[in-house]
């Protein structure tokens, strides 16, 4: 179990955290890249999912994009972009693009399903009250679908954080760098520290989204 004490020693050593290649800088880069990717994916796909769910169309696409998305290895997308001409190439844009594509399927599927699962009676009642389609979406469907939408973001968020480590294989930064460096240098403490930091970050984000999911649960469901 010496690797455990070595890892703790590595993590508590201030020198490992400082500097442009230190754990702090890499952690910051990792968080930034993951956050941007998730945000872009959300902006692109949550409105689309909400609309498709509202009009009840494009279900096959929304549900199957998950299957197809899972079939495309993010590593391959990343390498393809890394070899592409600028502005891609070995850049943050390549990493973010690959992660955005990776995050889209779970967000789209969950958003769409979230809206479809809304109690039809509530929607009918709203329509009966004279609400326009837009009002129904905003005042009835969105609040009721919110928990599932957040769950999709949560799933995507955790997976993006774990997958962003692959960026290090294509010359990128982030916490994956600790893992690859540790691997190349046979420094197990560094390797495990990198993995621990990624896992801790992912669990933290999971926890935050869990709280968010509880917060957006509609009052009726809390009873």
């Amino acid at each position: 179990m010496s690797w455990l004490s070595e890892t703790v020693a590595w993590l508590t050593n201030g020198a490992n955290w400082s500097g442009p290649d230190g754990a702090a800088a890499l952690l910051g880069e990792h968080v930034r890249v993951s956050a941007i990717s998730l945000l872009v994916a959300a902006v692109l796909v949550v409105p689309l999912g909400l609309w498709l769910g509202h009009v009840g169309r494009g279900g096959t696409v929304a549900l199957n994009v998950g299957n197809v998305g899972r079939a495309v290895p993010t590593f391959a997308v990343l390498v393809l972009l890394a070899l592409a001409p600028p502005p891609f190439g070995l850049s943050q844009l390549s990493i973010i693009t690959a992660l955005v594509l990776f995050a889209i399927p779970p967000v789209l599927t969950n958003t769409y399903v979230g809206v479809r699962e809304v109690d039809r009676a509530a929607v009918d009642a709203a329509r009966g009250m004279g609400m326009s389609g837009w009002q129904v979406l905003r005042s009835v469907e969105l609040p009721l679908a919110a928990p599932l939408v957040v769950q999709g973001l949560r799933l995507a968020g955790v997976q993006v954080i774990a997958t962003a480590t692959i960026a290090a294989l294509a010359g990128g930064g982030g916490l994956g760098r600790l893992i690859t460096e540790g691997f190349n240098r046979q420094d197990q403490a560094q390797l495990v520290s990198g993995a621990v930091l990624v896992a801790a970050l992912a669990l933290l984000v999971e926890g935050l989204f869990e709280l968010l999911q509880r917060a957006v649960r509609p009052p009726s469901a809390r009873a």
Binding site: N67, V68, R70, A71, V72, P73, T74, F75, A76, V77, V79, L80, A82, L83, V158, I161, A162, T163, T165, I166, A168, L169, A170, G176, I179, T180, G182, F183, Q188, L191, V192, G194, A195, V198, A199, A202, L203, E206
Partner: protein
């Protein structure tokens, strides 16, 4: 252009008398789409594809073999179920890159490293699917079977399992497709199947290799998905006529 002129002057042996291997074509120009690459590296591509498929199949089968007893035990005790689900969530947050690298000292530079990692990841999906599938079996059906005198074991295999099958198979499909994609990361320990080609292609900037391996990877994943979907339809004839 000069090369062409030299060839025209002296035939295949050019002006200098040496054999002029005028290299031109999509391979030399490093184009993304290149038939020449496919024909000249057939064995390499095939070997990578086979390795990829074998690793995936072994990992998923082992995953199922481990997930079934774990799920059955987890259903027995509530606290164990919570623990198993929690543990699987934690495993899923460990990046594959790290997991493969970590297993290396224990399992060596072999396919075992990749398989163990993939099995652990697929467990998270499979255990959940099996538990959910069994939980979804309607209570009246179980009661009716009990009333007919079915013992626990017979109940499990002849009543619960078939009814849980659609949910379980959906989970197996997700696990299988994810495994195909995740196998590529095994390239860090040299056993990534098509991922090895992709990784090497990056280091040598060899574009046709990267595109071919990527396309094959996606094709393999989709083929596995369709195969399992067909297997699911075949195994649940009573659900024909209903959406999958």
């Amino acid at each position: 252009m000069v090369g062409n002129a030299l060839l025209a002057l002296g035939g295949a042996h050019g002006v200098t008398g040496h054999a002029v291997t005028l290299a031109d074509g999509c391979l030399v120009r490093n184009e993304w789409v290149c038939g020449e690459y496919l024909s000249s590296r057939k064995t390499e591509i095939w070997d990578a594809l086979v390795q990829h498929t074998v690793i995936t199949v072994v990992s998923v089968l082992l995953g199922i073999a481990v997930a079934v007893p774990v799920a059955l035990v987890a259903r027995r005790w509530r606290w164990l179920e919570q623990f198993v689900l929690g543990a699987s969530t934690v495993i899923y947050t460990v990046p594959s890159l790290a997991l493969f690298s970590l297993l290396l000292p224990f399992t060596g530079l072999s396919a075992t490293t990749v398989v163990v990692g993939l099995v652990l990841y697929s467990l998270t999906i499979l255990v959940r699917a099996i538990v959910a599938g069994l939980a979804g079996v309607p209570a009246p059906v179980v009661e009716a079977a009990r009333g007919m005198g079915y013992g626990e074991r017979r109940l499990l295999w002849q009543v619960r399992a078939p009814l849980a099958l659609p949910t379980v198979m959906a989970g197996v499909r997700v696990a299988a497709v994810s495994t195909v994609a995740l196998t590529t990361v095994g390239a860090v320990v040299g056993y990534g199947g098509l991922g090895d080609l992709i990784y090497e292609g990056l280091r040598t900037l060899f574009k046709p290799q990267v595109l071919t391996a990527s396309v094959l990877c996606v094709a393999l994943a989709l083929a596995v998905d369709l195969l399992l979907l067909a297997a699911q339809r075949a195994a649940t004839p009573w659900r024909r006529g209903r959406p999958a």
